[in-house]
């Protein structure tokens, strides 16, 4: 199933777009802010009065938001046509609905988490430093991407209308501050993974019910 989502996404070029959006964000933000001051300067900055570490931290926080928020899109989009036309039922003879749903979640998670890794690499190159506690931040992003991926998949099983993406973004409005504000990895892991499991189970159930009508 992962092979199918990968092949389909690669063919319509959405794979490239989904990975590059978070990865290229620091380049656009840091490059734009630096050039707006009228001259090229290395390391690049968002605010010239900040230290490189502060700039890297700010940029990483924004990249976190972008990565987590944008994970809803591939999760919603990848199997949207198959679910809308119920063609996804053809997979149910070879794989369980839960497997189909889990594959989409893993796929969307992998895309945007790769994008996050690209973003952090870009930040390191452009600011010359990494934000502090980058490992914990990466864990938060991983959990955030997992939850939004499960949420996007749940939404598409409820309805394939693109307007439902708005609901996903609104949920991210609650999720992102919670992730950003979490102080312990246990809290992030427990809450996030729990939410992802609930969304996955619901999505699998709804998908099978929906295709049965």
């Amino acid at each position: 199933m992962l092979h199918y989502t990968y092949l389909k996404s690669r063919r319509d070029s959405s794979l490239f777009a989904f990975i590059m959006i978070p990865a290229l964000f620091p380049l656009a933000a840091l490059g734009g802010a630096t050039l707006a001051k009228g001259h090229w300067h290395y390391p690049l900055f968002l605010n010239p009065q900040y230290t490189p570490v502060q700039n890297a931290t700010l940029c990483a926080q924004i990249a976190t938001v972008v990565s987590v928020l944008f994970t809803v899109i591939p999760a919603f989009w990848t199997l949207r046509p198959e679910i809308a036309t119920k063609s996804v039922t053809s997979f149910f003879f070879a794989a369980r609905p839960m497997t189909v749903v889990a594959s989409v979640i893993v796929f969307a998670f992998a895309l945007n988490f790769t994008g996050w890794i690209g973003a952090i690499t870009m930040i390191r190159i452009l600011t010359g430093t990494l934000p502090p506690h980058v490992a914990f931040m990466t864990l938060k992003v991983a959990v955030g991407c997992l939850v939004t991926s499960a949420l996007g998949t749940l939404l598409v099983t409820i309805s394939s209308q693109p307007a439902l993406l708005v609901g996903g973004y609104m949920a991210c409005g609650l999720l992102i501050p919670w992730i950003q504000g979490s102080k312990s990895s246990l809290q992030v892991m427990g809450g996030g993974v729990g939410a992802a499991i609930v969304c996955t189970a619901l999505a699998g159930f709804i998908l099978e019910r929906r295709c049965a009508t």
Partner: protein, 312 residues
């Protein structure tokens, strides 16, 4: 004793206030091609979905290859190939890639996957389409691709919902050949269709459904026998119109310039009397023969009779 691949008993399915199936019972023998006939909205697709484990009946039981569709759906799914009436294909993949994905999903050994894909392509005569993107296919080609997908894992039962829809006459002939070939290989085929002439040619058995209730289940000869309480006769003259003689019970159901189709229980004596009367009137009778009705006519008649019964 006949072994059955599918046994449905007393199926009931409601969608809100609409009852799609009521007390639907039938059986499909192993290694046969069984046609499933009914008008639009009769409950064909609902029944096929229940048999395919995609939908649960509200009441009744259905066993496929000995497994209960409700209790053991995943044991059934891997052993059936299902072709729905409408489906979409991923436009950006080639046919070979698409079938390859299903060989992976069905857990076919890596070394056998290419062979399986080639076999399915060959069986459905889609080899020339194998490297083409699925978006560039015609309706008939899409139908063949759907068949290839349904066959990729070598299922025991093939369940096809309107497989002839959208196929041109040549493709229909090919489909019939394919289904015969599958029967020869011991597969069970359960297909719904409106093209009754096609079913007549290939089906061993028939299940006729009307408004959610099975009104006939058995072989085609049995269906004909059940329908043939009255027989249609055609009387043809060389040049003059023919009139219905007096005293004969029946109904004229069609007339031509020099012929008449008559439906009724015409005994040999009555036939002789009729001919003698016409000859006496100077009508040059050249033929009196029973008209073999098509399955389509028998089906329409069965439905009409059922509706008349219900109305009365």
């Amino acid at each position: 004793m006949t072994e059955h691949a599918i046994v449905a008993e007393g199926l009931l399915k409601r969608y809100g206030k609409v009852t799609a199936l009521r007390d639907t019972s039938f059986a499909v023998a192993k290694g046969t091609i069984t046609g499933f006939v009914g008008r639009n909205g009769a409950g064909k697709t609902t029944t096929l979905k229940i048999v395919s484990t995609l939908l649960h009946a509200d009441d009744g039981t259905c066993h496929v290859l000995g497994h209960d569709v409700r209790r053991d759906p995943y044991a059934i799914r891997g052993r059936i190939g299902f072709l729905p009436d409408m489906f979409e294909l991923p436009a950006v993949l080639t046919l070979r890639e698409y079938l390859g994905i299903f060989t992976e999903l069905y857990g076919i050994a890596r070394g056998d996957r290419a062979k399986r894909v080639d076999a399915a392509l060959q069986l459905t005569r889609t080899e020339e389409l194998s490297e083409r993107k699925l978006q560039a296919l015609s309706r008939g080609e899409v139908q063949r691709v759907g068949l290839a997908r349904a066959l990729i894992h070598n299922p025991d039962i093939l369940i096809l919902d309107e497989p002839a829809a959208g196929l041109d006459p040549h493709a229909r002939v090919e489909l019939k050949e394919l289904l015969r070939l599958l029967r020869e290989r011991g597969k069970t085929v359960f297909l719904s269709s409106h093209v009754l002439a096609d079913l007549e040619e290939i089906c061993d058995e028939l299940v006729v459904i009307r408004k959610g209730t099975v009104i006939f289940s058995g072989d085609i000869a049995g269906f004909r026998r059940q329908m043939r309480a009255t027989t249609r006769w055609r009387l043809t003259a060389v040049s003059r119109p023919i009139a219905l003689p007096s005293g004969i019970r029946g109904e004229v159901v069609g007339t031509g310039p020099t012929s008449m189709d008559f439906e009724g229980n015409l005994s040999a004596g009555e036939r002789a009397r009729w001919i003698a009367e016409l000859v006496a009137k100077g009508v040059d009778v050249c033929e009196v023969s029973p008209v073999r009705s098509t399955l389509e006519q028998e089906f329409a008649k069965a439905i009409e009779e059922e509706e008349e019964e219900v109305a009365s």
